[in-house]
C-alpha cells in the first residue's frame, strides 16, 4: 500500500495548524496547565505540613500563665508571639489565624489545682489554619495530661487510673499518601493533553475544511479518501502525542524543582519513569484524534465541532477525576479497556509497579484496532454527499 498521499495531507495539516496561533496556544497551554496545577498542589501540601510543624502561637495574656507558656516554648518548632488585645475580633477580621488567650485567673486556679481557663480562638472555616489549630490543640492536650499525671503522682495515685482508654492515633492520610493522590493527577492531565492538543487539527481539518469550502476541491483530487482521512488523523495524532510528551516533560521538570522528600514521597519522575508513562498513555494519543476526526465530520461548522470536543474531553477525563477521589480498583479486565487501562497502568507505574510488557502491547493493539474502525467510519462519511456539502 502506498501511503505517500497520506503523508502529503498530514504535512499540510500540520503546517497549516502551526500557523494558526490559536492551535499553537492550545497545545502550549494544555501541556503547561497540568504541571502548573500539580506544582501548585504540592507546594500547598508542603506549605501546610511545614506550617503545622513550625507554628507561631499568638498568645494574649502571656504573663497570666508562665508555666504553660514556658512549657509551650520548650516544645520543638513552637514560637510564642504576642497576641492581639481583642482576640475574637482579630480572628474574625483575619488579622491573625488563631489566638491562645490565657485567663487572668490562670495562675491562681492552676496553683489551687482547679481547671485553669484558657481560650483557643479560631475560625473553623479557614482551611489553611486547621493544621496549626490542630497542632496547638494536641499540644494543650499533652500539657493537660502531663500536669494531671504529675498531680496524681504527687497524691500517690497512679496516673493510669485517670486514663480509662488510651487513644493511639494512626493517621492513614499521611503527607506522603496525600502526595501520592496528587500524582494521580499526572495521567489525568496527560490524557487531557491527548484530547486537547490534537483537537484543533482534528476539527479544522474536517468540519473547518468543509465550512471554508475547501473540502470539495480537495476531494476532486484522485486520492483514495481513506488516505485523506488518514492524513488528517495522523497530523492530529502527532500534535496529540506532542502535547502528551510536553505535559510529561513539564511535569517532570516541575517536580524536580520541588523538594518532595519533605513530604515522604519516594517516587521520582525521571526520564525512565516518564518514558514508561508515555508508553502506557500513548495509545490515547492515537485514539483521541480518531474519535475527534470521526465526530467532527458530523458537525456542520467548526464551532459545532468544538462543542462536541468539550464533551469528549470531559468524558475522557472522568475516570481520572473519579480516581483522585476513589481508587479505580485493579481488576485485570480494566487494563485491557481503552482509556481505563491507560489510567490503571499509569497508576501502577506511579506507585512503583511496572506492568508486564504484554499490557503495553495489548493497549497499543486495542487502540490501533479502534483507530482503524473509526477512520473507516469517517472515510465512509467522506463519501456521503450530505457530509461533503453539509446539507
Amino acid at each position: 500500500m502506498n501511503f505517500s498521499r497520506l503523508l502529503v495531507v498530514a504535512r499540510k495539516e500540520l503546517m497549516d495548524s502551526f500557523r494558526d496561533k490559536r492551535a499553537t496556544y492550545t497545545i502550549v497551554f494544555s501541556s503547561l496547565f497540568g504541571p502548573i496545577l500539580i506544582a501548585f498542589m504540592f507546594t500547598q501540601l508542603a506549605g501546610q505540613e511545614r506550617a503545622a510543624q513550625e507554628i507561631k502561637i499568638p498568645v494574649t495574656g502571656k504573663e497570666n500563665g508562665p508555666i504553660l507558656i514556658h512549657w509551650l516554648e520548650q516544645q520543638p518548632g513552637v514560637e510564642i508571639v504576642d497576641g492581639p488585645k481583642e482576640a475574637e475580633s482579630a480572628v474574625r477580621d483575619r488579622t491573625v489565624e488563631f489566638v491562645l488567650v490565657v485567663d487572668k485567673k490562670f495562675a491562681e486556679k492552676f496553683s489551687d489545682s482547679r481547671p485553669a481557663p484558657v481560650q483557643l480562638v479560631s475560625d473553623s472555616t479557614r482551611q489553611s489554619s486547621r493544621p496549626k489549630v490542630r497542632r496547638l490543640q494536641s499540644l494543650l492536650n499533652h500539657f493537660n495530661s502531663e500536669m494531671g499525671s504529675l498531680r496524681l503522682m504527687v497524691r500517690g495515685v497512679s496516673p493510669l487510673i485517670a486514663s480509662p482508654i488510651k487513644i493511639e492515633e494512626v493517621e492513614v492520610s499521611s503527607a506522603g499518601q496525600r502526595a501520592a493522590t496528587i500524582f494521580n493527577f499526572i495521567p489525568l492531565f496527560v490524557i487531557a493533553a491527548a484530547f486537547s492538543a490534537g483537537m484543533q487539527i482534528a476539527t479544522d481539518a474536517t468540519a473547518g475544511e468543509r465550512e471554508r469550502g475547501s473540502l470539495e476541491p480537495l476531494l476532486i483530487n484522485p486520492v483514495p479518501r481513506w488516505q485523506l482521512v488518514g492524513g488528517k488523523w495522523l497530523a492530529a495524532a502527532i500534535a496529540s502525542l506532542g502535547g502528551m510528551a510536553a505535559t510529561l516533560a513539564f511535569t517532570g521538570f516541575t517536580l524536580s524543582k520541588l523538594s518532595l522528600e519533605d513530604l515522604g514521597v519516594r517516587f521520582h519522575l525521571g526520564v525512565p519513569e516518564g518514558l514508561l508513562l508515555f508508553a502506557a498513555l500513548a495509545p490515547m494519543g492515537l485514539l483521541a484524534p480518531a474519535i475527534q476526526v470521526y465526530l467532527a465530520c458530523f458537525a456542520k461548522s467548526f464551532k459545532e465541532a468544538q462543542s462536541y470536543m468539550a464533551f469528549v474531553l470531559l468524558a475522557a477525563m472522568s475516570p481520572g477525576i473519579i480516581s483522585t477521589f476513589v481508587p479505580l480498583g485493579d481488576k485485570p479486565w480494566m487494563k485491557l479497556m481503552p482509556l481505563l487501562g491507560e489510567y490503571v497502568m499509569s497508576t501502577d507505574i506511579l506507585s512503583g509497579k511496572i506492568p508486564v510488557p504484554m499490557l503495553f502491547v495489548a493497549g497499543a493493539l486495542s487502540a490501533v484496532i479502534l483507530v482503524a474502525i473509526l477512520l473507516w467510519l469517517a472515510t465512509r462519511l467522506f463519501y456521503s454527499e450530505k457530509i461533503i456539502f453539509g446539507r
Binding site: S4, R5, V8, V9, K12, M15, D16, R19, D20, R212, G213, S214, L215, E216, P217, L218, L219, I220, N221, P222, V223, P224, E385, I388, F389, R391
Partner: protein, 243 residues
Amino acid sequence: MIRAQSLRKSFGNVVAVQDVSFTAANGTVTGLLGPNGAGKTTSLRMVYGLVKPDQGNIQVDGNDVAANTSAAQACLGVLPDVSGLYPRLTPREHVRYYANLQGISGADLEQRMQSWFDLLDLKSVADRRVGGFSHGERTKVALARALIHNPQNVVLDEPTNGLDVVSTRAVREVIRRLKSENRCVVFSSHVMQEVSALCDRIVVIARGRVVAEGSSEELLALTGNTNLEDAFVSLVGPQGEAA
C-alpha cells in the same frame, strides 16, 4: 473529452437535475448557460464525481466516473463554485499541496508553478498568505491549483462570477490558452456576454433540463432573435422558469 448522458439527480423531493446530456469535445470551449438554480452546479459535480447521479452516466476521456472515479478525476482539473483556499497558506503552498496529491513534485513542479504564476500575474503575491487576498486573486490561485497537473479536461463552475475586469480577462486568457492546447473546457455561467465571448458551443439549461444546444449563431437562428440575451430569455422563460 467529456460525455454526459441523461443525468438525473434529486435531493429528497427536490429534483435538481432532470435530464442533462452534453458532449464537450477536445479543443472546444463548452458553456453551460442557465439561470441560478437551473442545475448547472449539480451537473458539474456529477462530472467531477462528488455527486452520484441517480440515472445516467458520465465519461471523462473514456473513464466512467461512477465506476472508475479516480481515473476520471485524474484527467480533470476543476474550479468549483467556491475557491476553497486555506487562509494560512501561500499560493505556492496551495499549488504544491495539490500537485503533491497528484503525484507531481520536484523541479518539474517548480517550473510549472512559475509559469502559471507568470500567466496569472501572481508572482508578487506568491509567498503571501491568501487570507487577505481579493476575490480575484483567490480565484486565480484556485485556478493555478486546479491546473497544475496539466489536465486534459477542465471544468470551471462560474469562474468569472464576481470578478473585476482585470481578473476576468486573466481567466479568459487561461481559457483561450487551454483551448489552443486542444484541451476540453467546460464552464458554467449565468452571464450571457461571458458565454458568447468564449464558447464554441452553448448548452442552455433550465429547470434541470437541456433546453437548447449549439453555437451562438445556431441559438439565434433557433429562437429567431437578433441578440443572444433575447434568445436566452426566450429559451429559459422570463423568470428563468418556463422552458
